[in-house]
């Protein structure tokens, strides 16, 4: 059962990833990207970590894909891209990808990773929270500071100089 689900998810994820790269219509490509990200969430579900899967859905599909869609809809494609159709580049890209995939695959298969079997129960999110707060708290605070500073930076970038204070509040 799990194998069938895994195969179906793999086909879905890789197929829609290829579609996301190859489709001419940017909207359909971003829908395919959404399916890919959802398929990754499915892999996390198969790996017994529903917490990560739900965050994958909420953050990647729910927010980042919406941002991509929004950007694609507001920008006219013809103005930013000049098409370069070159079959040699295409074949070179496919060949490079195959070489990299084979290399990574060989490393993974030889590393003994596929013989590991584990009977551990799925990781509870409460344990993740405890570890984050008790042992990894400096990293947590550092992350919070980085995120806060990036939010403040984004606000500064979005601030318009030509709008007076009165106009802004109204």
């Amino acid at each position: 059962m799990a194998d069938a689900t895994f195969l179906a998810l793999s086909v879905l994820t890789i197929g829609s990833a290829i579609a996301a790269l190859e489709l001419r219509s940017l909207i359909y490509a971003s829908i395919a990207l959404m399916v890919t990200l959802g398929g990754v969430a499915g892999f996390f579900l198969l790996l017994d970590s529903p917490f990560v899967a739900m965050f994958q859905l909420a953050v990647y599909v729910g927010s980042i894909a919406v941002l991509i869609l929004f950007t694609v809809m507001l920008v006219r494609r013809e103005l930013i891209f000049t098409k370069i159709e070159d079959p040699r580049r295409r074949y070179a890209g496919v060949g490079l990808m195959l070489i990299i995939m084979l290399g990574i695959g060989a490393v993974i298969i030889n590393s003994g990773l596929n013989t590991i079997t584990t009977e551990e129960p799925p990781v509870d999110y409460r344990d993740i929270g405890k570890e984050l707060l008790l042992y990894y708290w400096p990293a947590l605070i550092l992350m919070a500071l980085i995120l806060a500073s990036s939010v403040i930076g984004a606000l500064m970038l979005a601030r318009r100089e030509d709008v007076k204070g009165e106009q802004r509040t109204n």
Binding site: P50, F51, A58, G62, V66, L69, M73, Y125
Partner: protein, 433 residues
């Protein structure tokens, strides 16, 4: 000569009969028999009274009332029943239909509209049916330059997403379709799909009004998701769990709205914005942009989107009840099932029948469902009320409220929750629990 069927000929009549019989036999052998074999070989039939249920036994059981109840009882424990009927889609759609009816009555009371009062003599009972018939009988029109696959798929996706949301809401103890350990995060993940569908359909319609409406909907939904999520973190801090059933079980004594009223208010306002209800109905502002992102929908496609949005309304109201109003908890008002019917059977005149398998539903389940439905309908009424009273607010005010005020109130709510724990009021060592 009869004038009813002037071209009647017996030969044609017999030919059409044999034709029908032929097609019946062909379809049965090609479709019916494979289905029977699939049922017999592949589907695991339940075991009842120590005997495996075969189709033959099922037919004999249906004829015998004393054996029908165990079948029904095993049916209502299956996932299929839970998804399709009771805590799942059927229940939600029923409440959605009731909501539409109540909304029309309620608005008619507020604004003196005649239709829902008199349609069908008795309290306008036929108004809902008239609306449904109108939608079904209308033609489905697809705009010529629309992107057809997305445009066709969007209403179905909308209903499916709303139904997925419904599957997470616990109705009674143990009666929930998907009892996830990370239920609240799953709710956030599912809510994130609504803006995607909205913006996709507004783009696919290839028309100006839907696109403006869709962009407004995107702004509104994305910016109100943040206070929606933050306002619930107080409850997560207090209960220490993300499972919705456990959150309900933790409110046996006092509801969380007593301790976290600010969170409840912020969550309620965010619900209104997520549902595009008045006063936050900018995406469908009918006096400005025709019908917003719904403009190009017609016929049953519009009906499906409406069904989806009312199912979503039920799900959000159920979530509010689950998180703040104690879910299924309430005083026991359902009387216990009479013992003598179980032990002695029903006596009708000279006959007494003993029916195994009673009671069908436990007392706790009926009571929990009753209280859940009462509270949910109350919350739905409060959600509907602003429609008859308030005007629409401007989009910059909307975003201002969402980004400045509600998020600030959310942090205040979080500090209240932390203060309740560290002040020793609640929590493992507190003096209330």
């Amino acid at each position: 000569m009869s004038t009813i069927a002037p071209k009647f000929r017996l030969g044609h009549f017999i030919a059409s009969l044999t034709d029908n019989i032929f097609w019946g036999v062909v379809l049965f052998t090609l479709i019916g028999l494979p289905i029977v074999f699939i049922v017999l070989f592949l589907i695991e039939l339940p075991e009842i009274d120590g005997k495996l249920l075969s189709p033959y036994l099922a037919v004999t059981y249906i004829a015998d009332p004393s054996r029908t109840l165990p079948i029904i009882q095993s049916l209502i424990q299956t996932d299929f029943f839970k998804i399709v009927a009771f805590p799942g889609f059927g229940f939600a759609a029923l409440i959605a239909g009731a909501t539409i009816f109540i909304e029309r009555k309620f608005l008619a009371k507020i604004q003196l509209r005649p239709g829902p009062f008199y349609c069908g003599k008795v309290e306008g009972i036929l108004q809902l049916m008239a609306d449904g018939l109108k939608l079904i009988s209308k033609e489905i029109i697809i705009p010529a330059k629309a992107d057809k696959p997305i445009f066709w798929a969007a209403p179905v996706l909308f209903v499916a997403t709303a139904a997925a949301f419904v599957s997470l809401i616990p109705v009674a103890p143990g009666w929930v379709v998907a009892d996830l350990d990370v239920g609240l995060i799953a709710v956030f993940a599912i809510i994130g799909f609504f803006p995607i569908i909205t913006i996709l359909v507004s783009w696919a319609a290839n028309s100006k009004f839907p696109f403006i409406g869709g962009i407004r909907a995107l702004h509104q939904m994305v910016s109100f998701e943040i206070p929606l999520i933050l306002s619930l973190l107080g409850i997560v801090i207090l209960t220490g769990t993300l499972n919705l059933s456990e959150i309900v079980a933790s409110q046996a004594g006092i509801w969380w709205i007593v301790f976290l009223p600010i969170g409840a208010i912020v969550f309620f306002i965010s619900i209104l914005a997520e549902l595009e209800r008045i006063p936050f109905d900018l995406p469908e502002a009918e006096s400005e942009i025709v019908a917003g992102w719904l403009t190009e929908f017609s016929g049953m496609m519009y009906g499906l989107v409406q069904l989806g949005s009312y199912v979503k309304l039920y799900a959000f109201a159920g979530l509010f009840v689950t998180l703040f109003l104690g879910g299924w908890h309430g005083p026991m008002v359902v009387p216990p099932f009479p013992e003598e019917i179980i032990t002695e059977g029903i006596t009708m005149g000279p006959i007494s029948i003993k029916i195994p398998g009673l009671p069908l539903f436990s007392q706790e389940m009926l009571n929990g469902t009753l209280w859940f439905v009462i509270k949910t309908m109350g919350v739905i009424m409060v959600i509907l009320l602003p429609r008859g009273v308030f005007p629409r607010i401007r989009i910059d005010l909307l975003l201002h409220v969402g980004w400045y005020k509600l998020i600030g109130l959310c942090f205040l709510n979080l500090f209240i929750a932390l203060g309740l724990i560290y002040g020793g009021v609640l929590g493992p060592e507190g003096f209330i629990q």
